[in-house]
C-alpha cells in the first residue's frame, strides 16, 4: 500500500514535470529570439521585422499559457504530495520558490502582458524593453527553480536541527553559487535555447518547402542557427561539467549512466551500447555477465570526464555498494569510501540519535540531549541510508538512465551538424534549391528529436537521483504525504487527461497558427 503511494506520487510528479518541460524550454529560448528580432525592428524601423517578431510572439504566447498552468501544479505538489519533504528541507527549498515568485514570475507575467497586448499602448522603446524583460524573467525563474533542484542533488549550506527535525539554511550564497547549481542552470537554459532554435528552423524550413514567407523563413533561420550553435557550445561545455559534478556528488548516477558495474582506472566511455538484460549487481566472482551485449567505446574517456585524468578510477555500481576505494569529493576531501552496510549503520545511528534526542528533550534531560546530538552530528552525513532497505535499492533504473543518457548525447551531437548545415546553406542561398529539400525535411523532423533529447536529460538527472530526494539524506519513500494511494491515483488520472487535452489543443493551435503564417 505504502509502496503504491510512493510510486503513484512519483508518477504524478514526473508526469507534471515532463509536461511542464514540454512548454518551458521553448519559451526560454524563443523569448530571446523574439527580443533579437524586435531589436532589429527598433533599430531599422523595418516593418518586416515587426511582422516577424509578432509571428514568433504568437507561438510564444500559446506555449507560455500552458507553461504557467503546469508550473503552478508543480509548486503545489511539493506540499500536496511531498509534505514530509516540504518540512524536512522546506527551510532551504522554499526560499528559492518564494524568490522566484517575487522576482521572476511577476516580471515575466507583467511584461509579457505589455509585450503581447501593448504594441499600440506604450512607446516603441518601452515595448522593446518589455520584450527583453519577459525573456530575462522567464530565464530568472529557471535560475531559482534550478538552484532548488541542484540543491537536492548536492545539499550544501545547511545544518540539521534536531529540535525541529529538519534541515535549516546557514549559508544562502553557497546554495545559489554552488558549482552544481551554476552548471545546472546554464545547462538547462541553453538546452531551452537550442530547442527553440530547432523549432524556429523547422517552422522556417516548412515555409521554404511550401514556398511561403520566404524572407521571414530565411532571416529566422539565420538568427536561429547562430543562436542555436552558440548555445550548443555552452550546452556541451556544461554537459561535460555535469558529468564531472555527478562523478563527485552522485557517483551512482554516473555508474548508471554508463552501465558501469565494476569500476576501473582508465574507464572507457560507451558511445553506443546495448545493455545485457541478464546483468545483475554483485554477481558471484567468476560468474560475472558482461554488462553489454554490444558496445562501441572510447578508451579512457570516462575516466577523463569524471576525474580529469585519463587513468583516474571511476567506481561502478558494485564498488559504490561495497566501498573500499579512494574517493575525492566535491570539497576536495579524499577518503576511503565506506560500504553500504557501514553507511546504513551510520544512518540508523543518526536516526536513532534523533529519536533519543527528542525523548530526552521531552523529559528535559540536557545531558542525554547533548550526547544524542553528538552521535547525530557525527553520523548525519548518511542519515538517509537508514531508510534504504537493501543494497540494490541504492541503484536507480540502470537501463532507463543509460539509454536516456546516450540518446541525449547522440542527439546533442547531431544538432551541431544541423545548425552548421542550415547556417551555411542560408549564407550560400542554397536553401530554396531542390537538391537540398531533404535538409529542410531533416530540419522538420528534428523537432520531435530535440524534445526527446531534452526530456532524456531530465530523465538522467531525476531518475538517476533515485532513491534519493535529497542526496544521502532523504529517500523518496520518506518524502511522501500520507494521503492514500487511491487519492493520488485519481488525481494522477485527472492530471494526465487534463495535460494531454491541453497538449493536443496546444499543438493543434500551433499548427494552425504556423499554417496561417505571419
Amino acid at each position: 500500500m505504502y509502496e503504491n503511494l510512493v510510486e503513484l506520487s512519483r508518477w504524478q510528479f514526473a508526469v507534471t514535470a515532463m509536461y511542464h518541460w514540454l512548454f518551458v524550454p521553448l519559451t526560454l529560448g524563443l523569448g530571446f529570439i523574439i527580443a533579437f528580432m524586435e531589436t532589429k525592428y527598433y533599430r531599422t524601423g523595418d516593418e518586416f521585422w515587426k511582422r516577424t517578431t509578432k509571428f514568433w510572439m504568437k507561438l510564444f504566447a500559446i506555449n507560455f499559457a500552458v507553461g504557467i498552468a503546469t508550473g503552478i501544479i508543480l509548486e503545489f505538489e511539493f506540499g500536496t504530495n511531498w509534505s514530509n519533504y516540504s518540512w524536512f528541507v522546506g527551510d532551504i527549498f522554499g526560499a528559492p520558490l518564494a524568490i522566484e515568485g517575487i522576482f521572476a514570475f511577476f516580471m515575466e507575467s507583467t511584461f509579457f502582458a505589455i509585450m503581447y497586448f501593448g504594441w499600440e499602448k506604450v512607446s516603441k522603446k518601452a515595448h522593446l524593453v518589455s520584450t527583453w524583460l519577459t525573456a530575462i524573467g522567464t530565464n530568472l525563474s529557471a535560475l531559482w527553480i534550478l538552484t532548488a533542484n541542484a540543491w537536492m542533488q548536492y545539499p550544501v549550506g545547511m545544518a540539521f536541527n534536531p529540535e525541529t527535525a529538519r534541515n535549516e539554511m546557514v549559508d544562502f550564497w553557497s546554495i545559489l553559487l554552488s558549482p552544481v547549481a551554476i552548471n545546472k542552470f546554464l545547462h538547462a537554459v541553453t538546452n531551452g535555447y537550442v530547442l527553440a532554435a530547432v523549432v524556429v528552423i523547422a517552422v522556417s524550413a516548412w515555409f521554404i518547402l511550401k514556398q511561403r514567407e520566404q524572407e521571414l523563413a530565411r532571416k529566422s533561420i539565420k538568427v536561429a542557427s547562430i543562436f542555436g550553435l552558440a548555445s550548443l557550445i555552452v550546452l556541451i561545455g556544461t554537459g561535460d561539467g555535469s558529468a564531472y559534478n555527478v562523478a563527485k556528488v552522485q557517483p551512482m548516477k554516473l555508474a548508471a549512466m554508463e552501465g558501469l558495474y565494476d569500476g576501473q582506472e582508465g574507464a572507457p566511455l560507451v558511445a553506443f551500447g546495448i545493455l545485457n538484460p541478464d546483468k545483475e549487481i554483485l554477481e558471484e566472482e567468476g560468474e560475472e555477465e558482461d554488462p553489454y551485449l554490444f558496445d562501441i567505446s572510447f578508451p579512457k574517456v570516462l575516466s577523463f570526464l569524471a576525474t580529469r585524468d585519463f587513468n583516474g578510477f571511476v567506481p561502478g555500481v558494485n564498488d559504490i555498494i561495497e566501498g573500499g576505494y579512494e574517493f575525492t569529493d566535491m570539497e576536495g576531501n579524499t577518503y576511503i569510501e565506506p560500504s553500504f552496510e557501514v553507511k546504513k549503520e551510520m544512518g540508523s545511528k543518526a536516526v536513532n540519535a534523533l529519536a533519543s534526542f527528542q525523548t530526552a528533550k521531552e523529559s528535559g534531560n540536557q545531558a542525554a540531549m547533548d550526547s544524542a546530538r553528538a552521535v547525530l552530528d557525527e553520523n548525519f552525513k548518511y542519515f538517509g541510508y537508514h531508510y534504504v532497505e537493501e543494497a540494490e535499492d541504492l541503484v536507480p533504473n540502470v537501463p532507463l538512465v543509460f539509454y536516456a543518457f546516450h540518446i541525449m548525447v547522440t542527439l546533442g551531437m547531431f544538432f551541431i551538424v544541423l545548425f552548421i548545415a542550415f547556417w551555411i546553406l542560408e549564407r550560400k542561398n542554397l536553401l530554396e534549391k531542390k537538391k537540398f529539400r531533404w535538409v529542410l525535411w531533416i530540419g522538420i523532423i528534428s523537432v520531435p528529436l530535440v524534445y526527446i533529447c531534452s526530456q532524456s536529460g531530465w530523465i538522467v538527472a531525476e531518475v538517476g537521483r533515485q532513491p534519493w530526494t535529497i542526496q544521502n539524506l532523504l529517500t523518496t519513500n520518506a518524502s511522501v504525504s500520507g494521503v492514500g494511494s487511491g487519492n493520488v491515483l485519481t488525481t494522477l488520472i485527472l492530471f494526465i487527461v487534463l495535460f494531454t487535452t491541453m497538449l493536443i489543443a496546444e499543438l493543434s493551435i500551433m499548427f494552425k497558427q504556423i499554417k496561417k503564417g505571419a
Binding site: Y2, I62, A65, I68, A69, G71, I72, I73, F76, F78, G79, T80, N81, S83, N84, S86, W87, F88, G90, D91, I92, F93, G94, A95, A98, I99, G101, I102, F105, F106, S109, T110, F111, I114, F117, G118, K121, V122, A126, T164, A165, E168, M169, V170, F172, A355, Q358, Y387, V480, S481, G482, T491, T501, I504, A505, E506, S508, I509, Q513, K516
Partner: protein
Amino acid sequence: MDALYFLQHYWWALVSLLGALLVFLLFVQGLQGLIFNVASSQQEKDHVVKYAGHKWEITFTTLVTFGGAAFASFPLFYSTSFGGAYWLWIAILFCFVIQAVSFEFRNDAGNILGAKTYETFLFINGALGTFLLGVAVATLFSGGAFTVNKGAITDVSAPVISQWTNGWHGLDALANPFNLLLGVVVFAAARTLGLLYLCTKEDIGDFKEKCQKRVYITSIIFVVTFVAFVLWLMLRSGLSVDPATGIISEEPYKYLHNMIQVWPLAAIFLIGVVLVLLGLGRHFLGKGLSKNFYIVGGGTVLAVFALLLCAGFNNTSFFPSTIDIQDSLTLYNASSSLFTLKVMAIVSIAIPFVIAYIVWAWRKLR
C-alpha cells in the same frame, strides 16, 4: 523583542498582505463569472474576456507567490494543509489550471474544444475557484483534522510528519458552514469587484448599465454575508499559544480579543470596511463610477489584511488542529529558521519595486 519573533510576524504580515491583494485581484474571477448569465451577447462576452484577459496573470502570479511565500516562511503549514487537505487544494489547482490556457486558446483557430468550452472553464474558475479559495482561507480559523508529530520521521515504516486523520482529505472543509459562508463572501466580493471594474470602462456601451444594476444585488449579498461572517468570527473561540512554553489553550472570543488588544488591527479593519461601504454607497447614488472600483478594492485589501493578521497575531494559532489542540500551528512552531526568514526579509525589500512596475503596466493596459 527578539529578531525571530519579529520576523515571524513580519512574514505572517507579508503572507497576509499577499492574501489580501489576492482577494482584491480576484475581481478577474468575478468578471469571468459574468460570462454566461450577465454577458448575453457575443460582444458582451468579448468585453468580459478582454478586460479579464489583460489582468488575469497578475492574479495568477499573486496566487503562485502566495504559495511560494507560505512555503518559504511557514513550511509546516505548507506541508500540513496542502498535504492534508489534499482534495481541497487539488480542486483549487484544477480551477486555476483550466483558466491559464483559456484566455489564449478561446479564440484561436484549431482549439479542439471550441470557444464555449473555454468560456465554461473561465466560468468554473470564476465561480468555483473563488468559492473554494474562501473555504480554504476559512480553515485558518476553523482548522483541520490533522496531527503533527515531527518525531515521526524516525519511524521507517510510516515516516509521515503531518497526518490528516480522516479519509476525506480536505473535502471535510466543505461540510463546515463557517467555511462555506466565507466561500460565499469571497465569491460575492469577487463578483462585486468585477462588476465595479466594468463600470469604470467607457467603451463597453449598454453593457455598462447592465453591470451597474447588477452591482446592487451582488453587493448586498456581499455585505450581508460578510457581516454575518465577521460576527460569527468575533463570537467564536480561538486557540491561544503561550510563546514561552508553546502550550496551546482554547480562549473564548479569541478573535474579538485580538482586535481589541492589538488595536491597529481593528483600525485597519474598520478603515477597510468604511471604504467598502463608501465605495458601494457612492455606486448606489450613481456617483463616481470610474473610481468606486478602486475605493471598494482598497477597502477589501485592508479588511482582508486585518482579518488574516487577526488569524496569526497576538499569540493565536493560525491553523488549529481539531484532533489535538497541542498540534495546532502557530507562528512559532511552523515558521522557517531565523536565518531563512532574514534572507527572505532582505529579498522582500524588492516588493515595492515589483508593485511599482505592476502599477505602471496596469495603467498602460487599462
